[in-house]
Symmetry: C2
Subunit: 162 residues, 2 copies
């Protein structure tokens, strides 16, 4: 079934998978900075923050999730590779996860980033029934900036415990 051409089909969830490369490793290894970036990204995209939980791993890396009224944002960072994997999952039209993507690219000083937009939970409005299928890939894009960072574990300063 070609769900793309059926105007009565909508998706319950909008899911952006972001790959941030060539980031500042000291930002990616700092729990407080990563948490602040994710919370401000939620606000930047128009979401309402319900709660959040972040964790710093030894020696490198931060994982965390922000629960928003419109779903969630999640992150895992690998500072030693200057890489962060981010998921921005929203429902409804009140917020635009692409704003969070752009916000994070700037916050992490990412020199190169990819964004894949997926549709989750397709529903036929006429029948009010779910269309049982895997996710649908809606779009993919990439953005680069002029000032990439040289990454390497030797550059990463150990942040103070928060």
């Amino acid at each position: 079934m070609d769900v793309k051409d059926d105007s009565t089909v909508v998706n319950l969830g909008r899911h952006l998978l972001a790959e941030f490369y060539d980031c500042n490793p000291n930002i990616l290894n700092n729990l407080q900075l990563v948490q602040e970036a994710m919370l401000s990204a939620a606000i930047a995209c128009g979401a309402t923050v319900v709660d959040s939980k972040f964790h710093h791993f030894s020696p490198y890396g931060v994982s965390g999730a922000v629960i928003i009224s419109e779903s969630h944002l999640a992150i895992h960072t690998w500072p030693e590779y200057g890489y962060a994997a981010v998921d921005l999952f929203t429902c409804g039209t009140a917020c635009d996860p692409r704003m969070a993507y752009e916000h994070l690219q700037e916050k992490f000083k990412s020199g190169s980033a990819y964004c894949s937009e997926l549709k989750r939970g397709l529903i036929n409005l006429s029948t009010q029934k779910m269309i049982e299928s895997p996710f649908q890939l809606e779009a993919q894009s990439s953005t680069t900036t002029a000032a990439p960072h040289v990454v390497g574990s030797q550059q990463i300063a150990q942040p103070q415990e928060v």
Copy 2:
């Protein structure tokens, strides 16, 4: 670049996107049951739970995330459609997110489910450099059970607040 055939390329993250259809709506609308299912799914797949955060939305739906040492599990449920979107993100080889997927399918009494496995964060082991690309789709599969549930908002009992 064909990263699939390059044995020196590995992925930092393994990301399963699960679509659970035809679930028991009263389970999907119960914060405690959803949280218990997600925490036991983490244990079932061999993960170490660091923390978790769940939220019930009015009138229907639960969102939540479990931070694990190996990354995170996240869920959003639409009880009125018998649907749950679940993300199972793991790093390393210590745990197998497919075990969590199978565990949740049983816990939610899902009649039909789809699982998409993505590779996140590709790295060339020879050069120790990231391969800058979007996620790679590794595999997709579906499973059905013999006893689907009839879903509809009129069937959903409002759970007690937890």
